[in-house]
C-alpha cells in the first residue's frame, strides 16, 4: 500500500502556553516542538501496514524549515521519505489544500492525518482532504483493517462506536486506538543514522486559500483561589456547591 502520513509540528504536551507580539503569536522561545501526538499514532499505523503488506510510507508537512527536525524524527522512526511544502500554515483549509494539491495525482492508497493538532485543534484536515480529493474519510479512526481495496473501520459517534466500510483510496484521522500507546516507536541509533540520508523534498506552496486568520490569543481567566475543606466535613462542601457555587 502506498501511504501518505500528514504530520504537524506542535508544542510538547507539557508546554505552558504564552503569547507574544500583542498576543498575536504563540511564544516559541524555550518551547520543545514534537510530532503532533495524534499524527504519531497514524505514522505508527502506516509503518505496521507496510511491515505486514508491503508498500511505502511518505510523510508530508506544511511548514517552514524550522519543522525539519520533526520531519527527520519521522524518518528516523521509519518513514521512507518526506515532503515539506514550504509555506506558513494559515488555517486547516490552507493546509488541506496544500496537501491535496500535492497528493492528487500521486496515487496514494491511504492518507492518514491526526484527528486534530494539539495547537489550534481545528480537527478538520482529514475530512477536508477527503472532500478535496473526492474520496471517503473517517475521523477519528480507532480501528482499521484492509482486505484488498476494501477497508473496514471503527469510528467514534455520540455514545459509542460505529463500524463502517469503504473502498480505498481514502483518508483516516488517527488517534489512540488505531494503534496502542505501547506500539509507538522511539527512534533508535540506526534509524537516526539512516534518516540523514533519506530524501526530504521541499515543494513550493501552491495556494493561499484559507477561511480564517488569527487576530488575538487569550488565556483563560485565572482561578480566584481554592477554598480548602476539612476531610471530615463533607457536608460543608455540599453546602458550598449548592449555595455558593450553585452547581448542584
Amino acid at each position: 500500500m502506498k501511504i501518505l502520513v500528514c504530520i504537524s509540528s506542535v508544542p510538547d504536551t507539557t508546554t505552558k502556553i504564552n503569547f507574544t507580539e500583542n498576543d498575536t503569536q504563540f511564544k516559541k522561545e524555550g518551547v520543545q516542538f514534537i510530532i503532533n501526538p495524534y499524527d504519531e499514532f497514524g505514522l505508527t499505523k502506516a509503518l505496521l501496514l507496510k511491515e505486514s503488506g508491503g508498500g511505502s510510507v511518505t510523510v508530508i508537512n506544511v511548514g517552514t524549515t524550522e519543522n525539519d527536525p520533526i520531519i527527520r524524527k519521522a524518518l528516523a522512526i521509519g518513514a521512507d521519505d518526506a515532503i515539506r511544502i514550504d509555506s506558513t500554515p494559515i488555517d486547516g483549509i490552507h493546509v488541506a489544500n496544500e496537501i491535496a494539491n500535492y497528493a492528487k495525482d500521486k496515487g496514494y492508497d491511504l492518507i492518514i492525518a491526526g484527528r486534530e493538532s494539539i495547537d489550534y485543534n481545528g480537527g478538520m484536515v482529514p475530512h477536508l482532504l477527503g472532500e478535496l480529493l473526492s474520496i471517503p474519510s473517517i475521523s477519528p479512526c480507532v480501528g482499521f483493517t484492509v482486505n484488498g481495496v476494501e477497508a473496514e473501520m471503527e469510528t467514534l459517534i455520540d455514545g459509542g462506536k460505529e463500524s463502517v466500510k469503504a473502498s480505498l483510496p481514502m483518508v483516516i484521522g488517527s488517534q489512540k486506538g488505531l494503534v496502542q500507546e505501547n506500539e509507538l516507536r522511539i527512534p533508535n541509533m540506526r534509524g537516526i543514522m539512516m534518516s540523514r540520508s533519506k530524501p526530504l523534498t521541499v515543494e513550493a506552496s501552491t495556494t493561499n486559500d484559507s477561511g480564517q486568520k488569527i487576530v488575538k490569543h487569550e488565556l483563560p481567566a485565572a482561578k480566584a483561589g481554592c477554598t480548602m475543606i476539612d476531610a471530615s466535613d463533607v457536608d460543608k462542601l455540599v453546602d458550598l456547591l449548592q449555595n455558593e457555587a450553585k452547581v448542584i
Binding site: 504536551t13 507539557t14 502556553i17 501526538p37 495524534y38 483549509i93 488541506a96 494539539i118 495547537d119 489550534y120 485543534n121 481545528g122 480537527g123 478538520m124 482529514p126 475530512h127 477536508l128 477527503g130 472532500e131 478535496l132 471517503p136 474519510s137 473517517i138 477519528p140 467514534l156 459517534i157 455520540d158 455514545g159 459509542g160 462506536k161 460505529e162 463500524s163 463502517v164 466500510k165 469503504a166 473502498s167 489512540k176 477561511g211 480564517q212 486568520k213 488569527i214 487576530v215 488575538k216 490569543h217 487569550e218 483563560p220 482561578k223 481554592c226 477554598t227 480548602m228 475543606i229 476531610a231 463533607v234 457536608d235 462542601l237 455540599v238 456547591l241 457555587a245 452547581v247 448542584i248
Partner: protein, 313 residues
Amino acid sequence: MSVLVYIENTEGTLKKGTLEAVSYAVELAAANGSSLIGVSIGEISNDELNKVGNHGLSEVIKLAGDKVNHQSAASQLNEIAKSKGASTVVLTNSWQGKGIGPRLAIKMGAGLVTEAVELPQGKTIKKKAFSGKAFVNVEMTKEKNVIAVSANSFGLKENSSQVNISEDGTTSSDTSLQHVSYNRDTSKLSLTDAEIVVSAGRGLKGPENWGMVEELATVLGAATACSKPVSDADWRPHHEHVGQTGITISPNLYFAIGISGAIQHLAGVSASKKIVVINTDSEAPFFKAADYGIVGDAFEVVPKLVEAIKKVM
C-alpha cells in the same frame, strides 16, 4: 442571506449540544437580521423536533436519511444551503458535526471555525485552542462560513416559538461510506454534554475501586471520566479519557478524585466552571486550578460525600 442550523439527533433524540447550537443560531440570525432555518436529517418524531421551539427556532425542514453519516449529511445540507441561499451554517461540535463541517465548508466554498465559544463580533469569533489551555480570536475571511459550536460554552437560551415543520425530499448522492454496525449505549450521559463530570485517576489504585465513583456520578446525575494513565492501563475505556490528547470538556462542575493535575490533564478540563479536587497529597498541582479542595483519602471521603449529597438531593 439566511442562516441554517443543523438539528443533530442521536437515535431520534435531541441532545443538549444540539439545543445549544440552536440557541446560538437564533441569536446569530437575530443579530444579523437574517432568516433562520433548522435542518433535521433522519428518523425523529415531530414531538421531539418541537423542542427547538423552546429555544426560538420556528422553521424546520425535515429530511429523510437512514444511517446518517457525515458525508451523506454534508451533501444534503449543502443542497438545502444552496436552495435557501444560506451564508452561514451552524453545527454542534460533536463527532458528527466535526465530520460534516469540513465537507460542507468545501462544498459551499465557505470558511470553517470549530470549537466556537461565543457569537461572532463582526467577522471575529472566539474559539478554543491549545486543547483548552487558551482561546484564539480569529477573523473569518470568507463570505460564507460554517461554525461548529463547542458544547457547554454558549449555554441554552429559553425563547419560545411555534415550530413549523416541513418535509423535503432532498437525498444524498454520497454512498461511498457503508454502515456496518453500531456499538453504543445511549442510556449513558455523553461526557461533552454533561453538566457535572466525576473523574478519577491513579489514586484509586485499581479498576475494582470505581464503584464509588460511579455511585457519586449517579447521585449527581453526572457523567464519569478518567485521567490518561487510567485509560492507558485499561482500567477505564479510552472514550472516558479527558485531557490534552483525550476529550476536552467544560461542565459546570468537575470532580477530580485522586488525580494530581498534570498540565496535560488540566488542559482538557480547565474550562470547567467549578472544580473540586480530592487528593491525599496537599501539594498536588491540581489544587492550584481548583475552586474547592479536600486533602484526604478518596476511599473515606467519597462514600461520605455520596451520603451527604443523598441527604440534600
